[in-house]
C-alpha cells in the first residue's frame, strides 16, 4: 500500500484549488471594475461630445430667436400692422415668429422660437413703444410661451 505523504512546502490539493478560485474571482472582479471604469470613460467622452454639440446648437438656436426678434422689430417699425406668423431660415437653423400681439404703437407682444438641430430656445418680448424710439418693457428667455397662444 502506497501512502502519500506531504512534504514540507508542498501544498494541500484543497488549498491549491481554493487559491485558484480566489485568484480567478479576484481577476474577474478587477476585470469587471476595470471594464466599468473604461465604459464610463468612453461614455463620458461621448457625452462630452454630445454636450459640446448641444452647446453649439443651443447657441445657434438662441441666435436664430434673436434674429427673429430683430427682424420683427424692424418690420413693426416699418408697418405697425405687420402680423408676424412667419418662419425664417438661417444658415444653421431657423426661427418662427408667432402672431404679434396688440395693435398700434404701444404694448406689442413678440413670441419667437429659434431652432437648430435638437435645440430650441424661446424668447418673449413686450414692446412698450415702437416709435419714435422703440422701448422694450421686457425681453426674456422662457421655456414655454405664457403670453402667446
Amino acid at each position: 500500500m502506497y501512502l502519500h505523504t506531504f512534504n514540507i512546502g508542498e501544498r494541500s490539493p484543497y488549498r491549491t484549488k481554493r487559491g485558484g478560485y480566489i485568484l480567478l474571482i479576484s481577476i474577474l472582479a478587477i476585470g469587471v471594475i476595470a471594464s466599468a471604469i473604461l465604459s464610463s470613460l468612453l461614455l463620458l467622452g461621448t457625452s462630452a461630445s454630445h454636450v459640446s454639440i448641444s452647446i453649439g446648437q443651443s447657441s445657434q438656436a438662441l441666435a436664430a430667436a434673436q434674429a427673429c426678434a430683430e427682424y420683427a422689430l424692424l418690420q413693426l417699425r416699418t408697418a405697425p400692422t405687420y402680423p408676424g406668423d412667419e418662419l425664417l431660415d438661417l444658415n444653421n437653423g431657423s426661427c418662427e415668429l408667432l402672431q404679434i400681439g396688440g395693435i398700434g404703437n404701444n404694448n406689442r407682444l413678440l413670441c419667437l422660437e429659434g431652432r437648430s438641430g435638437d435645440a430650441t430656445r424661446r424668447l418673449e418680448i413686450v414692446v412698450n413703444q415702437l416709435l419714435p424710439e422703440t422701448t422694450i418693457t421686457s425681453w426674456q428667455e422662457v421655456t414655454t410661451f405664457s403670453l402667446c397662444q
Binding site: 465604459s39 408697418a79 438661417l90 444653421n92 416709435l131 419714435p132
Partner: protein, 501 residues
C-alpha cells in the same frame, strides 16, 4: 540526500509507474501541458484587456478634449456676435458688409482686418446686407490643435437698426397737406391708417356706405378706392391688425365684421372672412384687437353685457371668450398694458378699467374706474406711457379734457392729477404722439375743431394749447401715423391730412 533519493532509478521508476498507472498521475501530466497554454491565453487576454483599456482611455480623453475645443469655439462665436451687437447699439452703420475680425479697443468693439486669432482660435464675422437697416451676421470660429483636434463652427443671426430714433416734427404749428371731400353725405365716423390706405367708417343712415377706403400713397392727393363697395350697415369703431380690418357695426346679425384687406383697392363683399353676432341688436360701437383676441364695446343694454372678448380665426367661426357688464355704453376703448380703458356714458364712472389678462374672465381692475365731475359722457380715450387722456361731451361747468396719471396703478389714484382743460366743445377723438408731449384733440370746438396741446404744459398747469385748426366741421376721428409723422382727421364728409410745421 532527498534529491539524490528522488533521482535514483528506483524513485524514477516509482514515479514513472505512479504517473502512468494511476489517474492522479495522468491528471498531473495533463496539467503540465495545460498550464503553459493557459498562461499564454491568460497573458493574451490580459494584453488585449490592457490594450482595450489604453485605447478606451485615449479615446475618452480625446473625445473630452475635442468636446472642450468645440464648446470653447461656441462661446467664442457667441462673443463675436455680442461684440457686433454692441457695435450696432452704438452705430448701425459701423456694421459694414464684408469679412472682419472683431477686436476690443479703448472705445469699444470694432472691426479690424479680416480675422483675429483668439487663444489659437481663428475668428471672424461675415456681414451680409439683407435690406435697408438689416444685415445677416455669421460668426466663424476655426481651430487646429493637431490631427484629431481641428474643427470649425458658425453661428448666424440678423441685426437690424430697430434702435434708431425717428424724428418727430414740431407740432406747435400744423399745416394741412390735403383735404379730400367725398360727395354726398358719407357721415364719416372714425379713421385708421395702415400702410398706404386710410380706412374710414361711416354712418349709413344719412346715405353713407359704411366704409370708405382712400389710397394715401401721395398724402397730398388721396384717392378713393373700392368706391363700389357698400358695407350695408353703419360702422363706428375700427382697427387694423395684420391683413385684417375689424369693424364695429350696427348690423343686427353681425355686429363684428372682419375683412381681408390684402388688396384694399379691390375690396368687395367676398372679402368678409368672418363675423360675429353679439347679443342685442346692432349695438357695437368700439373695437380693438390684441393678437387674435377682439374686444368690442357696445351701447348700454339692460339685458346684455357691454364688453365682449372674442377669439378671432381666419378659418373657424369667431368664438365668444367672455363678457362683462359695464353698466353703461362703451363709447371708446383703448388697450394699455393688459388693461382695457373704456370711455363710458355712466354717470358714476366715466372711466372704467378692465383687467383683460384672461379674456375668458374679464373683471374690473381694482378700483374699477374714475367718476369725473358732473354727468357728461366720456366719448374718447387715449393712453401713452403713464398718461390717460379722456374727452367728454361739452358742459358749461366742466372741463372736457381730463388727463390722469397711470404711474402708480392701472386705475388712476390722484394725486398727482388729474389735470383738466376746457376745450369749449365736445371732444370726440384723441390721439397722442408716444414718447412725446404732443396730443391732438378733435371735436366740435367752433373754429378750433383740431387742437394741438402739450401734455407737459397741462401737467404743469400752464396753457397747454399750442395751435388750433378750423376744419369748418366737427372732427369725429383722429389718427396719428407714426411712420410718416402725419395726422389724419375726418369730418362728416372730408379727410384732412396734416403735417407738423
Amino acid at each position: 540526500m532527498r534529491a539524490l533519493r528522488n533521482h535514483s532509478p528506483q524513485a524514477q521508476r516509482r514515479e514513472s509507474h505512479h504517473s502512468l498507472s494511476s489517474p492522479r498521475g495522468l491528471l498531473k501530466n495533463r496539467h503540465r501541458g495545460s498550464l503553459l497554454l493557459e498562461a499564454i491565453i491568460a497573458i493574451g487576454v490580459f494584453v488585449l484587456f490592457l490594450g482595450g483599456m489604453g485605447f478606451s482611455l485615449i479615446l475618452g480623453e480625446r473625445s473630452t478634449i475635442a468636446a472642450g475645443d468645440h464648446a470653447r469655439a461656441s462661446f467664442l462665436a457667441e462673443q463675436e456676435l455680442e461684440a457686433v451687437r454692441a457695435m450696432r447699439a452704438q452705430d448701425f452703420s459701423s456694421v459694414s458688409p464684408g469679412t472682419h475680425g472683431v477686436v476690443l479697443t479703448a472705445t469699444g468693439w470694432t472691426f479690424s482686418g479680416n480675422g483675429v486669432v483668439r487663444n489659437n482660435y481663428h475668428t471672424n464675422v461675415d456681414v451680409v446686407s439683407r435690406g435697408t437697416d438689416w444685415v445677416e451676421v455669421t460668426a466663424n470660429v476655426a481651430w487646429n490643435f493637431g490631427q484629431t483636434r481641428s474643427g470649425a463652427l458658425a453661428i448666424t443671426t440678423y441685426l437690424t437698426d430697430w434702435q434708431k430714433i425717428s424724428t418727430v416734427g414740431n407740432w406747435a404749428s400744423v399745416s394741412r397737406i390735403s383735404l379730400t371731400t367725398i360727395s354726398g353725405t358719407p357721415e364719416f365716423q372714425k379713421v385708421v391708417v395702415a400702410g398706404n390706405y386710410a380706412y374710414v367708417t361711416s354712418n349709413r343712415s344719412a346715405g353713407g356706405k359704411g366704409l370708405y377706403i382712400l389710397d394715401i400713397t401721395n398724402p397730398a392727393a388721396p384717392i378713393q378706392v373700392a368706391s363700389a363697395f357698400d358695407l350695408g350697415a353703419s360702422a363706428y369703431g375700427l382697427a387694423v391688425s395684420g391683413e385684417y380690418l375689424y369693424l364695429a357695426t350696427d348690423d343686427p346679425a353681425r355686429e363684428v365684421q372682419i375683412y381681408d384687406i390684402t388688396s384694399p383697392s379691390t375690396l368687395e363683399s367676398s372679402n368678409l372672412i368672418n363675423s360675429f353676432d353679439l347679443p342685442g341688436e346692432g349695438q357695437a360701437r368700439s373695437i380693438t384687437v390684441y393678437g387674435t383676441t377682439i374686444f368690442v364695446g357696445t351701447l348700454n343694454d339692460t339685458v346684455n353685457n357691454q364688453l365682449f372678448a372674442l377669439e378671432m380665426s381666419a378659418l373657424d367661426p369667431v368664438v365668444l371668450l367672455g363678457s362683462l357688464n359695464m353698466s353703461g355704453s362703451v363709447l371708446d376703448l383703448n388697450l394699455h398694458e393688459g388693461y382695457a380703458y373704456a370711455a363710458m356714458d355712466t354717470n358714476s364712472a366715466e372711466l372704467e378699467v378692465v383687467d383683460i389678462f384672461d379674456p375668458e374672465n374679464l373683471s374690473f381692475a381694482p378700483g374699477v374706474g374714475r367718476d369725473l365731475t358732473e354727468v357728461q359722457d366720456a366719448t374718447a380715450i387715449a393712453t401713452s406711457g403713464t398718461a390717460a387722456l379722456i374727452g367728454r361731451i361739452a358742459g358749461t361747468s366742466i372741463d372736457e379734457l381730463t388727463m390722469f396719471s397711470l404711474a402708480d396703478s392701472p386705475v388712476p389714484t390722484p394725486p398727482p392729477g388729474p389735470w383738466t382743460m376746457d376745450t369749449g366743445g365736445d371732444v370726440l377723438s384723441l390721439a397722442i404722439i408716444d414718447g412725446n408731449s404732443f396730443a391732438f384733440i378733435g371735436g366740435t370746438m367752433d373754429g378750433a375743431q383740431l387742437r394741438v396741446i402739450d401734455t407737459l404744459r397741462l401737467e404743469h398747469n400752464q396753457s397747454p394749447t399750442l395751435t388750433t385748426y378750423d376744419t369748418e366741421a366737427t372732427i369725429r376721428g383722429l389718427f396719428y401715423d407714426w411712420q410718416k409723422d402725419r395726422l389724419y382727421s375726418v369730418t362728416p364728409s372730408s379727410l384732412f391730412v396734416f403735417a407738423p410745421g
